[in-house]
């Protein structure tokens, strides 16, 4: 049996929702830009038959007669084909059905109360909730969207789900903090947070993962972008991950971004069921600063798991050239030693880039991986 090709590509998070999806789901008439966007991507990806009467209605004067569910399904199909067409080995639907990675899962649970928007950076915000009561899962989530992707994707499906540590860290913790007595100093806050993370993992995330696996989900990315927020809590990230995945059989990866990875070692390595670390690196890689040097930590701590290597910056429109991607992959290979451990991906979800820019970034990423592969194959042949 031959080895799979080196540097397989994967998506890592959400994509920008097409304008036609947003208008269509809101029941607003499509404008010319939305129609043109739909047609341009459909010409390229063939995600729905253009002569389908519903499609004609949607692109004509009767777009409001197409219901929101149909529009959402088309968007999911569009983004599945989009990722497949870019050449990715593992795909999802660009999270077309989700509001975003925090609000959506929280809305599937009881015990939370949304308080308003908090700025993450620049003009980017998220709606933040507080845990005010006991956590109860209404029902496992992401299952219907998984089934849809499973039934329509040609490439392997990888489902992203927000991890317990991040959900807890991005919420205010009233319920568990109230249960602590005395000065609400750092030690007290940490104890309250541990209760919150572990309860979230056990009561909400694990039942959801179990339901997904039961439906055939084999590759799951647990998103923990908050993992590096509190260095002294790296152990809790691993504990939450272990509690969420306990006794479950699937291929689990952990996505982390925009963090000081040094602070996570070695505590994070206790996340035993994690088989791949899918992290952001390109954002920190610039002239005079090697963003991939931090990979040495895996060598230092003897961790030989796969690495999902972020080679594309998701916050800038400038499209990385294939040569740049190749160079980053070869640099990472030199550090990690074994190229078979490396998957290639963007730093994070490309949702802040237009679909055009994101597509160019993804296709260049795949081309860059091919260049790196050819170079290594050439070296091996020589």
């Amino acid at each position: 049996m031959t080895d799979p090709p080196l540097f397989p590509a994967q998506e890592i998070g959400s994509l920008m929702k097409p304008r036609w999806q947003l208008l269509g789901q809101r029941g607003q008439p499509l404008d010319d830009a939305a129609r043109a966007e739909f047609s341009a991507w459909n010409d390229r990806l063939h995600f729905v038959p253009p002569d389908d009467p519903m499609v004609r209605k949607f692109l004509g004067e009767r777009s409001r007669e197409v219901n929101a569910e149909t529009v959402r399904d088309w968007a999911a199909l569009c983004l599945i084909r989009y990722l497949e067409s870019a050449g990715l080995a593992r795909v999802y639907d660009g999270e077309a059905r989700r509001v975003e990675m925090y609000e959506y899962p929280i809305r599937q649970m009881r015990g939370f109360q949304f308080l308003g928007h908090v700025r993450s950076f620049d003009n980017k915000y998220y709606l933040k909730a507080s845990i005010t009561g006991e956590i109860r899962l209404d029902r496992p989530y992401h299952t219907e969207e998984f089934e849809f992707v499973r039934d329509h994707a040609r490439a392997t499906v990888k489902l992203p789900i927000t991890g317990p540590y991040t959900l807890a860290d991005w919420s205010y913790n009233e319920y568990y903090l109230r249960r602590q007595t005395g000065w609400k100093g750092p030690g007290t806050r940490r104890r309250a947070q541990r209760d919150f993370v572990v309860e979230l993992a056990r009561r909400a995330i694990r039942p959801t993962l179990a339901a997904l696996i039961e439906r055939g989900c084999r590759v799951i990315q647990v998103d923990e972008p908050a993992a590096g927020t509190h260095p002294q809590e790296a152990e809790l990230v691993a504990e939450g991950f272990n509690a969420a995945t306990e006794g479950l059989d699937a291929e689990f990866s952990m996505h982390i971004c925009f963090s000081d990875y040094r602070s996570l070692f070695p505590a994070l390595l206790e996340a035993k069921r994690c088989t791949q670390w899918a992290w952001e690196f390109a954002n920190r890689d610039s002239e005079g600063h090697d963003g991939y040097e931090v990979l040495k930590l895996f060598r230092e701590y003897g961790d030989h798991r796969q690495v999902g290597l972020g080679v594309v910056d998701v916050h800038r429109d400038e499209v990385e050239s294939p040569e740049r991607v190749k160079e980053r992959l070869l640099r990472a290979t030199r550090i990690l030693g074994d190229p078979r451990r490396i998957w290639v991906n963007p730093d994070c979800g490309l949702r802040t880039r237009s679909l055009d820019v994101a597509y160019q970034k993804l296709t260049n990423m795949v081309r860059g991986a091919a260049l790196a592969r050819a170079e290594l194959d050439g070296r091996a042949a020589a």
Binding site: F121, K124, Y125, Y126, A226, H230, P231, F258
Partner: protein, 325 residues
């Protein structure tokens, strides 16, 4: 005991401003409409400050994308770099990259200060600026200057800035120095911090200068903090147990960060009064400034506004208690 209450950092953007700035990014609104949303929200923050008796006023610093951006975008020597986590929060700043020793550009920062634009300009406005140690410590320094030299230089440049802002009516200057407690300076770094603040103090004669620390326990940095020639040293009480620190030997103004923006739980004014009183008895500060321990923009608008109401309650509680004694 009289307490001065004031905002100690950027205020959250209102939901209307969130929607407007988001829409601008998505091409759904015009810069003019966003400008109007900024102006409306700034006026609203000022009204909140007035209503709650918060003085000096700030206007909320709603336009600042992060603590360094106005400097990184206008002063010479900088470019705006990658997204970087803002301490232990889910906020990010674009790390300034310093390619050469920085140079101040006259008049560049003033337009960024909300109080300079407000109708009450010239009254007791507070300028909130990056502290030289935090600034020097968080930039990607490719200038060739040592960290010490850069800290000192930034102190001199910020002193020039302070002089200019004074001429526009600002009377209080608060320097944000989370790094002083998160990564306390030692030896030559500590000396460079003291030197930087000496430059600032020289420019500030007659004005009030505060150093506000947050995000970590101030105890390890306490000796350095007390060497700084400033009127007020602010600490984050969610991180620092001031009652566990030895009584201060020198009398100084103390800033008490009593509101914790990391939780939406509203502080109990009676508990805060009791704590403030106990701290004052132990450290005998010349004045007490009471505010948020860390920037309130870690909260959404509504809970932040709700939590702010603890400040006048504490002010009144302290006044009533003093009257009883």
């Amino acid at each position: 005991m009289q307490a001065i209450t004031s905002l100690t950092g950027p205020f959250p953007r209102s939901e209307a401003l969130v929607a407007a700035t988001r829409d601008l990014d998505r091409g759904r609104t015009t810069p003019e409409a966003v400008e109007e949303a900024y102006a409306t929200t700034e006026a609203e923050v000022t009204r909140v400050e007035e209503r709650l008796g918060l003085d000096p006023r700030t206007g909320g610093y709603l336009r600042w994308q992060d603590l360094f951006r106005p400097f990184a975008e206008t002063w010479e020597g900088f470019t705006v770099g990658p997204l970087t986590r803002w301490f232990e929060t889910n906020q990010f700043f674009r790390q300034p990259i310093l390619h050469a020793p920085p140079e101040r550009v006259a008049g560049a920062i003033l337009p960024w200060l909300p109080e300079a634009r407000s109708a009450c300009a010239g009254r007791r406005g507070k300028a909130i600026l990056p502290g030289p140690y935090t600034f020097a410590g968080l930039v990607d320094n490719r200038s060739g200057e040592t960290a010490e030299a850069l800290t000192h230089r930034l102190g001199r440049l910020l002193a020039e800035e302070l002089r200019e802002l004074r001429s526009h009516g600002f009377t209080t200057f608060q320097f944000q120095e989370p790094l002083l407690v998160v990564r306390p300076p030692e030896r030559s770094r500590a000396e460079s911090v003291v030197a930087a603040y000496k430059s600032i103090a020289a420019a500030a004669e007659g004005a009030t200068v505060a150093v506000w620390t947050f995000f970590a326990d101030a105890q390890p940095a306490w000796p350095t903090l007390w060497r700084l020639p400033v009127g007020i040293v602010g600490v984050d009480l969610a991180e620092t147990d001031l009652l566990a620190l030895p009584p201060s030997t020198e009398r100084r103004g103390l800033g008490l960060g009593v509101i914790d923006p990391r939780t939406s739980l509203v502080e109990d004014p009676a508990e805060v009064v009791q704590l403030t009183r106990a701290i004052a008895e132990r450290h005998r500060p010349t004045t007490v400034w009471v505010g948020a321990g860390a920037p309130l923009d870690l909260l959404p608008w509504e809970p932040a506004t709700r939590k702010l109401h603890v400040l006048p309650a504490v002010r009144e509680g302290l006044r009533a208690e003093a009257a009883r004694r």
